[in-house]
């Protein structure tokens, strides 16, 4: 548990830093892109992150499904 915490702490810190700098970079870009965008709320950022997260969840889901079925087959072969 302690090892997991030790691993997670720098990981989450890196993620926070990445998310922070990404948001800052996007905000700078948005500010430069034109007056029409300056009024945008943070909602589009959330939607973009949700879209990317959903895509990765689905791909990972497929990977896990293949690995589980392969494991089941190997157990069947073992019997």
């Amino acid at each position: 548990m302690r090892t997991l915490k030790r691993l997670l702490e720098p990981g989450s810190l890196t993620l926070l830093l990445l998310a922070g700098s990404a948001t800052r970079a996007l905000a700078q870009d948005t500010a430069m892109a034109g007056a029409g965008l300056s009024g945008q709320s943070l909602r589009p950022y959330a939607f973009v992150f949700v879209a990317y997260a959903l895509a990765w969840l689905l791909v990972l889901g497929w990977v896990v499904a293949i690995a589980r079925r392969m494991g089941r087959l190997e157990r069947r072969l073992g019997r």
């Binding site: 700098s21 990404a22 970079a25 996007l26 870009d29 948005t30 430069m32 892109a33 034109g34 029409g36 965008l37 945008q40 909602r43 589009p44 950022y45 939607f47 973009v48 949700v50 879209a51 990317y52 959903l54 895509a55 689905l58 791909v59 889901g61 497929w62 990977v63 293949i66 079925r69 392969m70 087959l73 069947r76 072969l77």
Partner: protein, 230 residues
């Protein structure tokens, strides 16, 4: 296991695809400029379009393998078709989930029954039918043949999806890359899109090879078990 080499190739391709996707994420969030009209939400484009491309490619593989399977009756072609269909379903689901998120901000609605969206949803249901047909017959061979027909018929929807924005009045943006006069995207955006297309294709090919190996191994085990019982 039928082919260790196929699995190794699959792993190499999937890892290359995953590394490419890490590069894609960096490009999307730190390098590519923000689109002037739609703003930040346009960045969904870099996973939405590659997912659509991979889905179409996968269903193309399904149609091709299914047609040759109906002709030659080679079991491996059916295994390749069903493996590609599974990947196609995953990537079509990504398209159908990311598109509405984009639409909510760009159009003010998650969903509208316009031609491209409707035809893409239809494509998803056709290939869902592909798996249902396979599972619904008592005779597995007949199920494979029926599903091969569905796999071929389903692919006919792909050119319709592509051309629907040109043929009908549509809310969906028209193509910005595959145009007769050439791409009209900003060069940085085009490079990012290309990295996305390449990464997603490699990722799909890698996972497809693993899925195909699994299908082939399952078939072999089933055949051996049947022989042992006889």
């Amino acid at each position: 296991m039928p082919s260790k080499r196929l699995q190794t190739t699959g792993t190499v391709l999937a890892v290359l695809g995953a590394l490419g996707t890490v590069a894609l994420h960096w490009m999307v969030f730190f390098w590519t400029p923000t689109e002037a009209t739609m703003g930040v939400i346009q960045r969904i484009f870099y996973i939405h379009v590659p997912s659509a491309w991979v889905a179409f490619f996968a269903f193309g593989v399904v149609a091709l393998c299914s047609a040759v399977y109906l002709w030659l009756g080679d079991e491996r072609l059916d295994q390749a078709a069903s493996s590609a269909a599974e990947g196609g379903m995953v990537f079509t689901t990504i398209v159908l989930l990311t598109g509405p998120l984009w639409g909510r901000i760009a159009w003010g609605t998650y969903w509208t029954w316009e031609p491209r969206l409707t035809l893409t949803l239809l494509l998803w249901f056709i290939y869902l039918g592909y798996f249902l047909v396979r599972a619904s017959t008592d005779n597995p061979e007949r199920g494979k043949r029926f599903s091969a027909v569905v796999g071929i018929a389903g692919a006919l929807d792909i050119p319709l999806i592509h051309l629907s924005v040109v043929w009908f009045r549509s809310l969906h943006p028209t193509p910005v890359v595959m145009k007769p006069e050439g791409p009209t995207l900003h060069p940085d955006m085009l490079v990012t899109l290309m990295v996305g297309l390449l990464s997603f294709t490699l990722l799909f090919l890698g996972l497809f090879l693993h899925r195909y190996t699994l299908a082939a191994a399952t078939h072999l085990v089933a055949v051996r078990e049947r022989r042992a019982q006889a």
